[in-house]
Each structure stands twice: as C-alpha cells, then as structure tokens.
Symmetry: D2
Subunit: 479 residues, 4 copies
C-alpha cells in the first residue's frame, strides 16, 4: 500500500454526508488445499479427469439456480479488517470458499465414507455425525457410510467397531449429548490405521477431534498420498475450548458458554449467601481462556477472570488476595472464574508430575481449582483468623460438555458437515472446513494442525472483561 | 482484476502440498460516517480541533498496550468472499472499524447521554441499555446518562419520562426480558423531538429500534445537522427478525431461534400424537424468513418451511396440500413452520385491510397462522371427509421475544453498546455500529435505514433447508 | 363422636409442653373395588380360588422382606383432617391400599395386556405407558403387552393399531412429550370395543384418559361383567386440568404449572415494557381453575386470576375493568390469568354455538382469551381514548401440554403405573389407582368417573391467591 | 380394633359392585403445641384472654365465608393408612390443622418479627422469607419485620445484621437462589441469642434451618419459657436432603431432584460415549438417600443407586465391582449414583478424621465421590489391565442447591410461610408448620427436632428403584 496516499480522516469539511475514499489493496495469495490423485490432471498439459455432474441438479424437488454452485474462483479472505495507514500491511491470504461444485471429482456411487470421533466430548458431536450421514446420502446419494467406534483405534479394531449408518438411524442424534460413536484418546498407530482404511475399502475419512486428532489426520493424509491412494481425509476440528486458529470459532463453544452460566450463577448465589463468601468456578480451557472470558462477559457476576494468557500471582501488592480482600470488604463476596490452564506455573509440581503426559501426548495439567480453593482458605485463616470465610468450588466440566448443542451450534454443525462433504466430492483432501469471517472455507489440514487461537489480551476487546470485572492486570512492575 | 491472469484451479499437478496463487485485488472504497461539527476542522487547511486523551489510559487497574486503540486507517471489508475469476468483481467497500480511539472529540465531563427504545420487544434490549450505561460511566466517566421512556414520544414527554441511570440501577437488567424503559410505536414528531433534545441538554442520543426507528434517526440526524448542533445520534438496530442488512445479524436473533425450538417441539409432539396430525407454528418475520429458516434447520422436525421470500400455493400439483398429504401418508404427521410475512398475497383481504397501516407506517399484516389452520381444516374435510385429521396451531411470538438474551446475544449486545460509545466519543454521528463479517464497524445510518436482508434463496445455503425438509419449490412452471 | 367430650383448646394451663387429648373416632367404611369372576369364591362358603405366588419373591437380586407385600387389611383414609368438635362428623371412608400382594389372582404367563390413550395430551402420558410395559414384564413377567393406537377406536381398528411393546422399545419414552400411541377423541362404540378386546384375547385393559374415557371404562367394565369375562379394566385418570376428584392430583399437573410460568413471565415482560400494558394469559381448565390458581401462586407477577369457580363481571363498580384501571394507574401495567372455562356465560354465543358438542360429548367452550382481549381493547378505547394502551395475549396451551413430564411427575407416573399393575394382578377390576393423601389406593372406577375437583373458594387456601393478587371477589352485592 | 371382626376380603360373591364394610377405629390422640403465656387462661377456671379479631375479616376486597377459619377442633391424622386386620393397630396420632383462626392471641400492631436462616443453601429459602414478610404485612398488618443476617449469631451481632423488610423489598426474592439474609453454621450461644431477642424487642422468631437449627430453636423456646416471655419461636425445617420426619417432605426437595437429572444426564452421556465408561454422580444426602433415590427413579438411566440406608461392599461375589462389570459387559457402560452418606464406613479414615466435627456438631463426612472414583480406577487397572476404562465423576451439589425453587416448591414455601404466621398469630409457639399427608399442621418443635426420615427399604416402594436398576441388595449372606 502506498504510504504516500493514506486515507485522511475527516476529509469532509462539513460532515454532512458519508464520504468515499479509494485505496489500492495489496495482492492476494490463495492458500489452496490438496486434491486426490484422481482429481488432478496427469500433466499440466493433460485434459482434466472426467467429471461427474453434481446429483443435486437432478433432485426431484429442487432446481438449483445458476448461482447455486461455487465457482472455481470463489475465495474468502482470512483477514476482514486492515489498517490502511500501515506502511507494511499484512499479506492478504485467501482460502477456497466451501460449498457444492457443479462437477464432482468423486463418483458418489463408488464412495465409501468412514466417520470417527476422537478425544473429549463437545456439544454438537452427534449433530456433525448426523449431518455427515444425512448429507452424504440425501444430497449426494452416497449409500455406504460407516461410523468407526472408539476413535482412531477403531480403524484397526473388530468388525463391530464399523457400524453402517443411514438417515433413519441417526434421525434424533442432534438431540443427544456426547457421541454415539464412542470416543477414546490415543491409539494412534499410523500403519495399522491406513492398513485398516484400505482393507475396509473406505474412500473418504471424516476425522472429528482436537489438535492431536488433526495432527494424526495430517500423518494419515501424508501416508495416503505416499501410497498414492485415492482416499480423502478431512479434519473437522472439535474443541470446546475454541483453541483452534484460523476458523472463527469451534462448534459447541456457544453451548458451553451458555451452560457455564449455570455454574457461575450457582457460585454467585453461594457467595452472596455466605459471610465473606467466595464462589470459585473452574472452566475448560487448557491453552486458551475463551470459555472463561466469554462466560464472564455474558454473566457479569464475576469479579475476577483468570486465563492462561495472563499470568497472575497470589500474594503481595497487586496480587489476587489483595484484590479479593478489597472486593469482599466492598461487596461482601466475590466470584472467581479460573480457566483450566491458568496458573499452571504456580501450582507446586512433583517430579513425576513434571514428566507425565496424557495419551494424546499433552502435558498433564494439574487441577487449578482445588489448589486455588485450598490457597484461598489458607490465606484467609492466616490473615483474617477471626472472620468468617467460605469458598464454594464448582467444577462443571462434564455438565457443560455433555449437553446437546443449542440451536446456534446445531446450525453451525450442519453447515460444517455439509461443507466437508461438498469439498470431498469436489476432490479435495487434507483439508478442514470452517467459517472464516463468516464464510465457510477450506483450509489446509497442515495449517489448522499448528494454528493456535489465544485470547488477544493486547486488543481492545480484552478491555471488555476489564470493564466488567475491574480486575488488576497482575503486572508486578506496576505495583 | 486482470482476466488474463485468473487463478487456475488445481494448478499443482501432484496435489502434494497447499499451493499459493497471487492475484491483484481491485481498489477499495471507504464508506465513511459523518462527524460532529466540533470534530471537524474548520477548513481543510485548519488544524484539527483540540482532542481529549481517552480516559481509559488513566484507568487505575488497566494499562492499555500500544495495540489497544483503533488507528485512523483501521477498516473492515463489507464482502469477505469474492469470485476471483469474475470479469467484473463487485467494488470492494470498507467501513471504519469500531473501537476506542486514543483521542476523543467529545469531552466526557460535558456529555449528557439519552437512551431510547422504540417498537416491539427483542431479547437483549435491556442488555444494550445496561451496557450503554455501564460503558459510558465506567469506561469514559460520563456521569449524566438518562433513559427516555416510551419511545420517541418520550423526548417531548413529561419529566418522569427522563430517568437518570447509573451502573447500580442497571446492574441486573441483562437478566430481564423486555425493556425497562418502556417502548411504544409511532409518536414521531421531528420538531418536538429535536426541541426536546435541545431543551434537556442532551449531547448524545442512542436510539434502539427497528427500520422505522432508523428512518426516524436519519431525520433527527439531518435536523440536528441543519441546526448545526453538536449533538450526536446513533442508531442501534433492533430486529428480532434479522431483517436489517449490511450487519452480520441483529441482536436477540440467536435467542429467538433457540426459544422457537420449544414451539416446534410442541407442534411436533402434538402432530405425532394424533392420527393424521399437523403441527403448525407461526414465527416472526414480516419481510424475511430468517427465524423460520434457522429454527427449521436447528430443529430438523419440520416438514415444510414457508417464508416471505418464496411464494407458495395451496391447491393443485406441486402445491402445499399435495405435499402435506404425501408426507402425512408416509410419516403419519407433518410439521409446518410459517413466517409471519409468508403467503400475505394469498389471504383474502377486505378493502379496509388493504388500506390499513400500523403506527410506524408499516403495512398491516394479516395473520397467516389462523388462516392457514382454517384452510388446512377445510381442505381435509373436503378431500378426505372420512379420515381423522387434526391441526394444532401455535403462535409463540410473545413467548419468544420477551425472554432475556442468551449468553451469545448477551455478549453481542455488550460489544454493540461499547462500539456505539467508542464511536460517539470519537466524534462520529449519524452512524450505526455492527459486526461486518465479524468485525465491529461503523456504518452510515442512512445506509442501514434502507438496507434489506432477505434470505437469499438462490444461494447454496437455501439448499440446507431443502435437504432438511425436501419440500417442493412451489414453482408452478415445474409442475 | 361424643359431643359431650370435645377436645378443649389450651387445656394445659402453663403451656409448657405438648399435651395429649384422646378422642373416640367414628366407624370407618371401606369402599371396596370389584374383582374378576376368577378371583371370587364361588360361594361365601367356598374356598378361595387357587392363588399364584407373586413372582417378585423369586427375583434373582431382590429378596422382599415380610413388610414388602400389602396385607388384605391395608386401607387408606379418604379424609386426612377432621373437625373433632363437630357434632356430626363426616363418615370416615377408606379405600384399599395399592401395592403388591403376596398371592396373585392372575397368572402372569396367561396375561395379555392392552394399553390405550384417549383425549388430549398431558405431560407424563408416555411415562405411564413406559412404566406399564416395564412393570408388567420386569416385575411380573407378563410377556404379551400391546399398545392400542388411536384411542378406543383402536380396539376395533386394523392390525397395525395393535403394537407389541417391550422394555427395549419403550426405554426412552419418559423423555418424550405426547403419546407414542396416538390418541383421539370419540370413537366409543361399546359393542365393537368389547368384541375387539375378546377377539384379540386381551385379559387386561389399561385405559388412560380424562372423564369421558373414565365413563367409557365404566361402560366397558359393566359389559365385561355382563358377559362374565375374566378381563380386567383399569382407568388411569389423565387430566392436565387436575379436575378429577378423590385422588390428590393428576399426573402432568405439576409440569403444566411449571411451564405455565414461562407464559406468565412473557406476559409480564410485555406488560411492563409497554405504556399501560396488559398481559393476558389463557391457561387450561374448563371446569376448574387449578392450573390458573397454582400458576398464579407460583409466579406472583399476576394481578388478577379468573377461574370457572368464581363468577366475574367486566363493567361497573367492583368489576374487572375498574380493578385493572386502578392497578394500571398504580403500577403502570397489569397481568391477567384466565382459565379456559372462566367467563363462559359472559361471552355472546350464537344459537349454533349453544347446541354444539365435541366428540367426547363435552360442551364446546368459546375461547375466552381472544374475547377478553377484544373487550379490554374496546373498553380502553371507549373510556380512555387519548391514552396509550396495549394488550398482549398469550395462549400457551400446546406448549404446556406437549412437554415431557418433569422429575416430580415422572416419579408419580411410575408409582401410578405400578399401582395399577399390582391391583390387576391381585384380581381387581373396574378400579382407578391414585394417591389419596399421599397413599396410593384403589378407587372404584364408577366413583372416579363422577367425582369433580373444583377449587374450593370458601376454604382458607383461596386466600392465598387473594393475598397474592388482592383482586376483588366480584360479589356484586358488596359493591 | 376388634380382631373378631376383621374386614373380609372379597366378601361380595359376585364382584358386581363396590362394597362397603364398616370397622371401629381406635381412639385418637391429639399431640398439641405450646402456647404463649398471654394466650393461656390464668387458671383452668379463668376466662380466656381477650382475643383480637382476625384482620382478614376487615379486608377491603375479600369477605371470608364461614368456612374460611380453622376451628379449634380441626386436626390432621399422622397416619393416612392402616392395616385394619392387625391385632394391635398403631395408636392414632393427630395434630392441629394449620390455618387462620377467627380470633388472634397476638395483637398485630404490637408484633415485631425476626426471620433468620441457618445452615446450607436450599432452593426456596428466599421464597419462605418473601412470603413471611408479605404474609405478615398484607394478611395481618404486622409492620415491623426484620431479617437477621448471618444465622443465629446475627441475634447478638451488629445493627446492620438487622434489616427491616417490607413487601417491596422482597418482591422478586422468590426468583433468586440462596438466601438474601446470609446464612452461617454454628455461632449458637443461647444466652446471647435470647438477650439479643429481648434487647431488640422481637416478639416472633422464625428460624429456618436444618436439624441443628431445630435443636437450637428448642433450646431458645425453653429459655423463652423459663424467662416467662411472651415471645414465640417457630421452626421452619429446611433440608434439601428431605431427612426431617413427620412432615411429608421438605421444601426445595422437588427442585433438587429436578436439577439432579442434569447431572445424571451428563454422567450418562459421558459413560455411553466412552469405551467401558462409568458415570459417577454424588448427590446430597448424609443420613438419607431420598434425593439419590428419587433422582434415580425419575431418570431411569442409573444402573446402581447407593444410599446410606443400605450397606454395600466393593469386592467379591454380590459386590459392586462384580455387578458393574456385568453391566459394562452387557451394555458397554454404567451409571452410578451415590448419596453423600453412603459407604462412610468403607472409606479409610485417619484418627483426626474420626474425631472431627463441623460447626453445627455434625460428624464430618468423608467425600465418598472421589474415593469411589479412585477405587473404581484401581479395581479396573488391577483386574482388566488391557481394557480401556473411564470414570467420569460429577459433584453437582452447589449447582443443585443454589437454584431458585421450581413452581411446585415455590407454592409449597408459600403455604409453609403462611401456615407459620397463622399459628403464631393464634398464640402458638415452639412449633413447626408442615404438611402431614397433604394437610398443613402444627407439630411440636421438640418432636421435629428428633424425628428422622430414613428411606424405608423394607417397604414395597424400595422395589421401585430395584425394578429400575435391578441392582443387587448387597446382602452377603445371600452370596
């Protein structure tokens, strides 16, 4: 962008009408997704492979208009806002827009799809499964759809781990929490998984899971490519914590924030009903504090929100204890929300605990909730031994993540599942579907597997939580 | 865009890795918003008016980093996706990004804000009011904030229609449905309103309402400008129907879709518990079918969704009766969701009804629900006199719109209110705050007052509802 | 009772300790229920018929203690309170206590049960069905259990109206509203029904329905007895209105009161958000106002509760309009709850409407809700033409009655179903199970079919609603 | 009862009609409640003290009929069912019926009421407080009503612990969980409390709390009597566990059972979504398993319900592990509900833990939930080391007890509060109001303070949970 031609603010001297200013944008870079071998021309000069017309066009009730199908040039922008005055703007990145293509690179009659869920529960899992089954069969006529039970290990499991699914079987799944396909952690054995995929003749894999699952999907994608197989793999990111980057948000997140209100309400009631009462709620979020932050903003009954992105300390000037004491003296009570991953460095850890890892290879988190509850009790007993004090601690994790998706998430899961199917049918593989600034798009699986989504505490949005809680920023240098 | 350099789809012959393609974008046009006279330089050559440093920087607990404030060049893009292959791309429109500015054009100590709500209820109204009060006082230190009761007519009403508000008074408003400031329709008398504003010394008006309210706000803006007054007016669009354009969605909409599920569930239960039962639910939506559409997609128990954007007919081949008969014979029951504005041209209307208008000047809608219920009963009695039949009709309108906002909408209302305040403090007027592709932005009030937001039934998204209901498209020519 | 020896109040001169006074009670009369011919001795001198030991005693996991089975002398009292000082106390009526008997008069291996639901929906219907199926099979080993679809007419319907049920099939029915067996009104043809029962070999009929269904069950009972058949019929009273006498309350009632709160909340929000706003809610209750009364008491936001048991009038001194005007002037708004059957005599009725009856033979009720809404509007326009006014009317009937039962009602439905089964297995017929002062009992079907349960407005309990609403008693003579 | 004249079962040879049998009942004993000195005649021969007419009779809107007031002979029966055939029937106990009396022994103008809440939270606490305030003022015109903060210690606390309450102040309390008057445990100092009562001139004490609070109220009652003071004390039993005897059930219990469903649902979803998953839910209930039992019956997703009244063991034949293994192998998962007080004798306890007591003098319970979770994990790892296994443990205690009362409990709290007031106004003291077989009655405080309410596991009702779970009875001798 030409820094010699910035937009000038308030250029209209009389402010009478909206004004228009024209700026030249930098070039745009398309970040494309891979394709199946069969979807590629054999050489740059070769003709494209024979395409199959999209069967939606033959739908008995529905007659798609010209604008119905996505064109090859349809892209979405990664960044929806810019600082035009900046001398060196961020490069503009684009992704392919998700949606149905007029011509398919995959023959629905020959397709055999496998769906698998891995990792912890998240509201909407069953809706995604339901919509993959319904979309594959009713939009495209894919008749062979299987649920693979018990996570990745199901691919090399027994026959009963491979369950044929059809629209009638999944009809009410969107009203159920959890996953009807059971889920597990770990069990990732690349060779056995790909052998299992091949042995059972699957041509489309839909892997629904968290960051570990996405990294596994990348490995499967690369192995499938190495073997030159016409089998696609799609990752559908599932993280109730909303800790996956690039996409706008993950499914189940809005539901989680909604249900978290119940826990905060209970903590607030317990706190206000006691003398010098503290209500303490631990919410999900190992690497990011999105649920804690959003639940705090929606509730407004929270006095302090502790998230992994902001270090805090307990004692001394500007510390948590000082802040809470002031709040209790002023209001008679206080409510604290702490994200799972906050304060990990403050909790004393044994050598064993330092070494431990969970089955997906994640560092084992110590439980910040009981630790903080205990520290609060010890602090008060030490500093204010003659005053009553109560801490009520609530860990609503399973009551949050096991509910069915709310209406907003149910709709989102539908669009996500359909976007995935459309992409697979177009011959894409190694990709993740997801909304980018509201536009459903296809993103390389490799990019999503490494993208993080921390709460940006330097942005003005963080001020929202501050305007709600007026909590300190725990910057010792300020103290 | 240079049509000689389109992106080529599948350019990577081996599909081994995500590829990058670079394209030149067309220029961008900034659609700016007006400013107060005091925020404008007296002439293009004059120095800018004396600015007030943002008091957030003096906040005792919070120390804004460099990235906290919005820069003059920060803009958002109206369209987040494009067809790069199109020969003549849409012009790229941008808006100013919402958020706090480092320098204010308004002195908080001299500010006197008035909040008013007009038109029908919508989940989140009280949250917007609460956050305007809290944001004005706690972020900016504005001490004079008033609620104006009973809509626009309150501006020229009695003293008791002007209620002083502070954070303590509004503390739990976000947990209440409706509006604590009472709302009315009509009563728009431009001269009296502006006279009232001036007489009471208000310097900032926040008008929350629907399209009629936005048109009224435009008139007030123009009159204020005509009189050369340093009084800003901001419109906060309230439409449970989601029928306002440019912005991503309106507040309360997600809550409405959530609660609508209860009505659809009840209609579904009534239908399946009867012999040849039909459950009929009327949902809000005079000019657009967004609630009906989203509720249908989230529920999946709906057999037919009728919206204003798609004409339908009752009798004959391809008509509603034929479709419902088939569905009842197949499943034993059917559920129909009809938006308020659907089928208006089918309902017989007396001459009086043709002339009538409501207080806001909207055409009076005939009630499609009882009419359709009656038509269904008459049809069945005529065509299938010896078979049992039941229609249960539910109109959940007030039970939907009177609830408090859910967590998602509560958060949205907060961001909307804070965005409005930041803009006013920066000296903007005649604008609407709202999210555009996820980025909160400022849009000229005049643009929003005329923007519509119909359901795009030619887009592939409409296929979602079709894949859920498999309903006919009521194109007679196809029949 | 000897009136010469009344208890003396405050007989203990120092009030230091609880005192005991002993009184002689009047004799007790047992109101017994009929038995199957096979359960009766052939003559007063003959030995009792061969009994079957209760199979619960052979349960692999459960070893019933001695106190587990109901003894032949176990009875419950109809009245749990008395005025001991009254010269002529009411006769004391007792009923057989419900529960398992040690010896059965019915061989479970030969039993063939039919379940049928009639009339309108009520929360808990599916729970009753589920527990009948589960209880019959798991407690008693009855293997032949059938659901009869579409109400009484299903007995002479097609084969597909007779659906075999087992515990797996009904597993989640308690989480569903409505009735999985479809329900209808009317279709009562005694000869065809009993012929159908005989033809299909049913030996136990469980009829779930309202007062019309109970009267039908009495007719079936008498016809079965006339034909000398060893077929039992049990009536399970279903009335969301709670208008059936003798029993403590009907299932689904607590759920209905709970959900009615949502409608009252919405009406309250609409009323307070308007200028001179009235929220009007119509609740179920044709002959009794129990739902309206309980919902009013639970909500406390109601200004006036109109029920069938209390006449009211609109105009003049002491009338509804005068009361509402006062309330609106004082509080700015008012909320009115009206039971379906209130004010029927006030609504103008055409000759046709005077003659009409519904399929169950009930008088057709005119819709008091829209009538009252319209009268309110006309009154205000006439009396206060220059003041704003709004009436928002909500009819939540189907949204209330179609929900699943809440926990309280779910448990109640279980006890009701099990009580029914235990009675049938003991050889009883022509009875209704139900709680009497908390004790599950067996009541002659004939008694229940004619018992009413009006709200006792002369009791001090009616004062509760009065203390909540302070509404007038519409006694014109007082005015 | 004359054993020579038992009722004969099936005396009617033809079973054609309900029969009547008449029996002589044993005498009835009235268990009276104490009165204030001022309500007692000075000697048996003296005339009764001057009575005040009930001000309800002067109510402007309401004209109580003759049957409105409770007569001196109105009593309720403690037992609503009997075994008439038993040779020695239980003595029949009666209590005074609650409700308004025509003549008061207390002058409302001189009354000064104090309300206090003690112990843990329970849904409905605030409703009881609200209705005491509203009932005292609106029914009786008592103008001096105070809330005493922080439990019994508030009586000798600072001035700000004594808050004047009126209907406007408490208007929306029934919609709030917890207690607006803060609650504490302990702090019971009899002398200081009674001195405080006298010093502040209170004439009526309403103490809302659990068994410790009731024992404290007995001591206060006795001290007030010893001092000869005309001050009444009423105990309103609050126990979310429903562990107080004589009365039908305690307030908040139905709400607790309702909310417990959410925790069981979540545990069930977690269990079915895992491979060999166990969902474990701990519910309130130290001495009784009512919540666990009712929640299990309402849910039907529970495989095993462990309550304090039934011992259980983990290992060996007939033990919990054996049962769960079978259930997991059969269904793939299991759900266990454990009451707080179950298995206390199984948990290893240190010497310190054996000695510890809480502030109310209750034995400190060890937390059965984490212990059982850990035992389950160790068992599986030991016995089935090569099979996946997951236990998800949920402790919803605070999320259950902190919610507002549901409609059923809200109504119950109203009747309880009004009953308390009517009794106090009639001159009673040292009593507890409560429903006995559905009739609100007055019970001596001393009786309630010692009454227990264990689940009767020998009654046929316990069979309900057995028919739902088919769990073993943990009788080792059977094994």
């Amino acid at each position: 962008m030409d820094p010699t031609a910035p937009i000038s603010v308030g250029a209209d001297a009389d402010g009478t009408a909206p004004t228009s200013t024209t700026i030249t944008l930098p070039p745009l870079t398309l970040r494309d997704v891979p394709r199946l071998p069969s979807a590629l021309a054999s050489s740059p000069a070769a003709p494209p492979p024979a395409a199959v017309p999209n069967p939606i066009s033959r739908h008995p009730y529905f007659h798609p208009p010209a604008t119905f199908y996505i064109s090859p040039g349809d892209v979405s922008l990664r960044h929806a806002f810019f600082d035009l005055a900046a001398a060196a703007p961020s490069p503009l990145i684009a992704y392919r827009r998700a949606g149905p293509r007029g011509d398919l690179a995959v023959d629905p009659a020959a397709a055999r799809a496998a769906l698998v869920t891995c990792g912890g529960l998240c509201p909407g899992l069953n809706t995604v499964l339901r919509e993959l089954v319904v979309g594959l069969q009713e939009l495209y006529g894919v008749r062979h759809v299987f649920g693979v039970a018990a996570g990745y290990r199901g691919f090399y499991g027994a026959d009963e781990d491979h369950v044929r699914l059809d629209p009638a079987a999944v009809d009410d799944w969107h009203k159920k929490g959890g996953t009807v396909l059971k889920t597990t952690r770990g069990g990732f054995d690349l060779g056995k998984i790909v052998d299992g995929i091949v042995a059972r003749g699957y041509t489309q894999i839909y892997a629904i899971g968290g960051d570990g699952t996405m990294r596994g999907a990348v490995a499967i994608f690369q192995e499938l490519k190495r073997r030159g197989l016409n089998i696609s793999i799609t990752g559908i990111p599932k993280t109730v914590d909303n800790d996956i980057g690039i996409i706008d948000r993950s499914f189940g997140f809005q539901t989680a924030v909604e249900i978290a209100q119940q826990a905060i309400d209970a903590a607030h009631v317990e706190a206000v009903s006691a003398v010098n009462g503290v209500g303490l709620v631990k919410l999900m979020g190992r690497s990011t504090g999105h649920i804690a932050l959003h639940a705090t903003l929606s509730s407004r009954d929270v006095d302090c929100c502790l998230i992994p992105e902001v270090d805090f300390y307990l004692e001394g000037k500007g510390g948590l204890f000082e802040f809470l004491y002031g709040r209790i003296k002023k209001k008679g009570h206080a409510v604290v929300v702490v994200a799972e991953g906050a304060g990990q460095e403050l909790i004393p850890r044994t050598d064993d605990q330092k070494r431990e890892q969970d089955e997906s290879g994640n560092t084992v988190f110590l439980d910040v909730g009981p630790w903080l509850k205990s520290e609060l009790g010890r602090w008060w007993k030490r500093e204010h031994p003659n005053e009553l004090f109560t801490v009520k601690y609530i860990d609503p994790t399973y009551m949050i993540r096991a509910v069915p998706a709310n209406a907003t998430d149910n709709l989102y899961c539908t669009l996500l599942a359909h976007s995935a199917i459309h992409g697979v049918m177009a011959g894409f593989t190694g990709f993740v579907p997801g909304p980018i600034n509201g536009t459903y798009s296809y993103i390389p699986l490799e990019d999503v597997a490494v993208a993080k989504n921390p709460v940006n505490v330097n942005d003005h949005k963080w001020a929202w939580v501050r305007s709600v809680t007026n909590q300190p920023d725990f910057l010792k240098s300020q103290a």
